[in-house]
């Protein structure tokens, strides 16, 4: 099939960007979306033109590197998948596809479709961990975790940190990302000793970065490639409320 691509091109963080139109011809429905871009790029290189820069790595939906707005939707129109998992059979011959980087003030463009998501690492450094040094762990089966809780913790822990939630949210809120980590630890006994400190600290880091608040649009849940549930945000709010009331800070 043949497609028209309208791709955001931007030389670097400080330059202006614009949409540029390309044709993608002879696209196979079995191609992944990124393979379709690869083919377009190979053509551009041979013409001596700068290929379209985009982030990618594992190409199987787990590393969280790819970050495309496709037809105005973070990771494209299909539910529960990252840009790299999207295949061309989701589109029709003659379609026009707009491809942009994840849009959020806190994800500045590095080049074309590549953005800087280092704010997420800074939030993680503010408390997204259990403080245990290597060597000091207790025997693993002394910590019993009810299966249901462990499954819920795993549902939350599946977050790949791609930032689609921020890109989709009208408030550029990072609540779904933060709540996934808070939930994972709040549901597990290992997270308990630092429970209050963690939620206060990560929440503060998120606000200081400038991410917006949640106003229940649920766009984040709709685009999340790992289908992280909105209920995690409820748990984050509950944890935050509880910690705030009980905090001595």
């Amino acid at each position: 099939m043949n497609l028209i691509l309208k791709v955001w091109r931007q030389k670097n963080a400080s330059s202006e960007g614009r949409l540029v139109t390309y044709e993608a011809k002879g696209v196979s429905p079995d191609m992944s979306f990124l393979e379709m871009l690869d083919v377009v790029n190979e053509g551009l290189i041979l013409k001596g033109e700068d290929p379209i820069a985009f982030d990618h790595d594992c190409r199987e939906g787990i590393c969280g590197m790819c970050s495309l707005m496709i037809k105005g939707c973070a990771h494209g129109p299909e539910r529960g998948m990252a840009s790299c998992e999207l295949h061309m059979r989701s589109f029709k011959d003659g379609d026009t596809l707009t491809i942009e980087p994840f849009r959020a003030k806190l994800f500045p463009v590095v080049k074309d479709l590549v953005v800087d998501r280092s704010a997420f690492d800074r939030i993680m450094a503010a408390g997204g961990y259990v403080s245990v040094n290597t060597g000091s762990a207790v025997e693993a089966n002394t910590l019993l975790v009810p299966k249901e809780k462990s499954e819920l913790a795993m549902d939350a822990a599946a977050c790949i940190g791609c930032g689609a939630c921020v890109a989709a949210c009208p408030n550029a809120s990072a609540m779904l990302f933060v709540s996934a980590k808070i939930s994972q630890y709040a549901l597990l006994p290992q997270g308990d000793p630092e429970r209050r400190k963690r939620v206060l600290s990560m929440r503060r880091a998120m606000d200081e970065e400038g991410f917006g608040n949640c106003s229940n649009e649920a766009e984040c849940e709709a685009v999340c490639p790992k289908e992280i549930k909105l209920s995690n945000i409820a748990r984050l709010n509950w944890e935050f409320l509880r910690a705030s009331l009980l905090s001595k800070e």
């Binding site: 290189i45 700068d50 299909e78 999207l86 690492d121 961990y129 693993a140 299966k147």
Partner: protein
């Protein structure tokens, strides 16, 4: 140079304990004065960086991706082995050790493998403490499953995302150290050279992938945790950016490369669909616990799989290996699939696939149980192929997945360049000629959490160097060499893209140096690689500039290294005149087509020394001595 493995004296069971006692310690107050450079943030790199920073060292961490959390360990699906023996089914440290060394076809270092089994339990304890949500039983205890090549259930898992959860655990520990100020992360950096001063590794040259600028970093030790070289084959299950550059460039600076021909072809991957294919996706080996592998008995049987009755199917693994059945080790399963396909029994549109069928398991256990165990894998398969594996058998085909070879390291994980350590898949040490399922995660974390924190201290405590700064001529020389290569590549402006050369090289290797290798084929490849390399340096085309974000330039640098490294891989495969593990030489097989080892002549590690491009590398042999196990022919029948 005589290779000294530094394996400690004493009984196998006591070696690591004795060694730890004999290792020198660094005064706690002095640790912060030592700068440690860690390259790569997969399981080995993140766990090492976190653990070393916890001890008080000043750690700098470098990764290609925009965040350390994205390293390719994240994609490991199935699980991590440990000798906990929770299921009470006969496991022990010795059995895990024995299975691992036997699985590696007796081409790994006995003392290293034993140590790996010894620390395996502490890894599980630590990962649980970090909050890794492993699968649980209803009573709240940890769940286990069996995995390819083992007859006990010793694999711990977090659905089909075990690598992700373990990596995020190590990443969280690292971010805690970033917050403490003891660790500093440098994302979007690619290591392009190791800087050696007076024979000792003292730093690295990296390219800032955003600005294109070269940066020098000085350290007291350098840890390469940069993963395997599977992408030399172009198509593999590795991430697109995984590459050989860091280890290859260290090799060119004096680190020996060991057993590069030991590459693992994983039996259960999603088959290729067209020539645009950029990577292959693994379907976890755990699927073989419940899936049955088969092909039609009749050649050219084009009926849909569900219309082929049971008696017209050949469940060839169950037929050939009745005691292990579908759970034979990876090398055995891959070769068996190749045999079926070579006989014309392959299925699907390309004929390059076999079926992995869950119909019986769904009938026996119900669809909900199957969904709970494998939902994410089944979803992934559906996304890629458009077919529903709950209803139609999966089509699978072997693909390059893991590389057992890597930089030669001694028992302390130090390469032949003093001060340069190598951890995880990037080194060669623990898997011999074939890696068993769920052992890679174990090894990466063993190296990072529980081995290098001890052995690095011994190196630092015993060394006494002068002060080195980035103004040192060795750093300037390194930067100049890297920059000259970049300028040279950019100046060619030829007619073929880096990817085009990469594909050509990969296909050549896959056909002649993949699942099955012969002297004739290998010799042919050995003459072709230099020709491709020569053309690359005359006819490659790169767009853009050096001083900017330039993915084509990044790719070209990696392909240039593959074109050098591939020659060593093939040379190693040619010299090893035996079949063992993932290295199958057609000339050396048993009457029933199994690998035929030659212990009299090849029971050694082949460690290659770089002697200049286009020159023959020098082979050093580290004889493998087995004090505890008896070498046997592997038999999974």
């Amino acid at each position: 140079m005589i290779l000294n493995s530094k394996v400690p004296e004493g009984l196998l069971e006591k070696k690591w304990d004795n060694h730890r006692f004999n290792l020198k310690l660094v005064n706690p107050a002095n640790k912060r004065k030592f700068e440690i450079l860690v390259v790569g943030t997969g399981l080995a790199g993140s766990s090492a960086a976190a653990s070393l920073a916890e001890l008080g060292y000043s750690v700098k961490v470098f990764c290609l991706q925009d965040s350390p959390r994205r390293a390719h360990s994240i994609a490991a699906q199935g699980g991590i082995n440990a000798a906990k023996n929770y299921p009470n089914d006969g496991d022990s440290i010795y059995r895990l050790f024995y299975d691992t060394i036997k699985g590696g076809d007796f081409r790994a270092r006995e003392a290293n493998v034993y140590r790996l089994a010894q620390v395996s339990n502490a890894i599980i304890d630590h990962c649980v403490a970090l909050g890794v949500p492993f699968a649980r039983e209803y009573g709240g205890t940890l769940a286990n499953r069996s995995f390819g090549g083992a007859q006990v259930s010793r694999t711990f898992y977090a659905r089909g995302q075990t690598g992700q959860q373990l990596l995020l655990g190590a990443y969280s520990a690292l971010m805690r150290q970033v917050a403490s100020g003891r660790a500093q992360v440098f994302p979007r950096r690619e290591m392009l050279d190791v800087v050696v001063v007076d024979g000792v590794a003292r730093g690295i040259t990296v390219r800032n992938l955003v600005t294109g600028a070269l940066e020098s970093h000085v350290g007291h030790a350098v840890l390469l945790c940069t993963g395997g070289y599977g992408n030399v084959f172009y198509l593999s299950t590795n991430a697109a950016n995984s590459n050989v550059t860091a280890t290859w460039r260290a090799h060119k600076r004096g680190a020996f490369f060991a057993n590069p021909c030991f590459t693992q072809i994983h039996p259960t991957c999603i088959p290729m669909s067209g020539d645009y294919q950029s990577k292959l996706t693994l379907m976890s080996e755990s699927l073989r616990n419940d899936g049955r592998v088969w092909v039609p008995k009749k050649k050219g049987d084009l009926r849909p799989p569900n219309q082929i009755p049971g008696e017209e199917r050949d469940y060839y693994l169950e037929r050939k290996y009745p005691s292990f059945g579908n759970l034979v080790p990876r090398d055995v399963a891959s070769r068996a699939a190749k045999q079926m396909i070579d006989e014309g029994l392959g299925v699907g549109p390309t004929g390059l696939a076999v079926y992995l069928d869950f119909a019986d398991a769904v009938k026996r256990l119900g669809v909900d149980v199957i969904r709970e165990k494998y939902a994410n894998l089944f979803d992934m398969y559906y996304h890629i192929t458009g077919e529903d594996p709950y209803k139609v058998p999966m089509r699978i085909y072997p693909a390059v997945h893991y590389t057992m070879g890597g930089l030669w390291v001694d028992y302390n994980l130090m390469t032949t360049i003093p001060g340069l350590f190598c951890l995880g898949e990037a080194n060669f040490s623990d898997h011999g000629a074939n890696r068993l399922g769920a052992s890679a995660l174990m090894q990466g974390l063993a190296d990072g959490y529980f081995i290098v924190p001890y052995t690095l201290g011994d190196y630092l405590a015993g060394s006494n160097w002068g002060k080195v700064e980035v103004a040192h001529p060795a750093f300037k020389e390194s930067e100049k060499a890297v920059s000259e290569q970049t300028k040279k590549i950019l100046s060619i402006r030829g007619k073929r893209t880096p990817t085009d050369f990469h594909k050509q090289l990969g296909l050549l290797l896959w056909n002649q140096c993949g699942m099955s290798r012969s002297e004739k084929g290998l010799k042919e490849v050995l003459t072709k690689i230099p020709q491709i390399r020569e053309e690359f340096w005359k006819n490659v085309t790169i767009t853009g500039e050096e001083g900017e974000f330039n993915q084509v330039l990044e790719k070209a640098g990696r392909v240039a290294d593959y074109l050098e490294f591939a020659e060593l891989l093939v040379r190693d495969a040619l010299h090893r005149k035996e079949s063992c593990g993932g290295h199958f030489r057609e000339e050396y097989q048993t009457p029933d087509n199994e690998a035929k080892r030659d212990d009299a002549n090849f029971c050694y590690v082949a460690a290659w020394e770089f002697k200049g491009l286009g020159k023959e590398p020098l082979l050093h042999k580290e004889p493998l001595q087995f004090e505890s196990v008896h070498l046997t022919q592997r038999n999974y029948q």
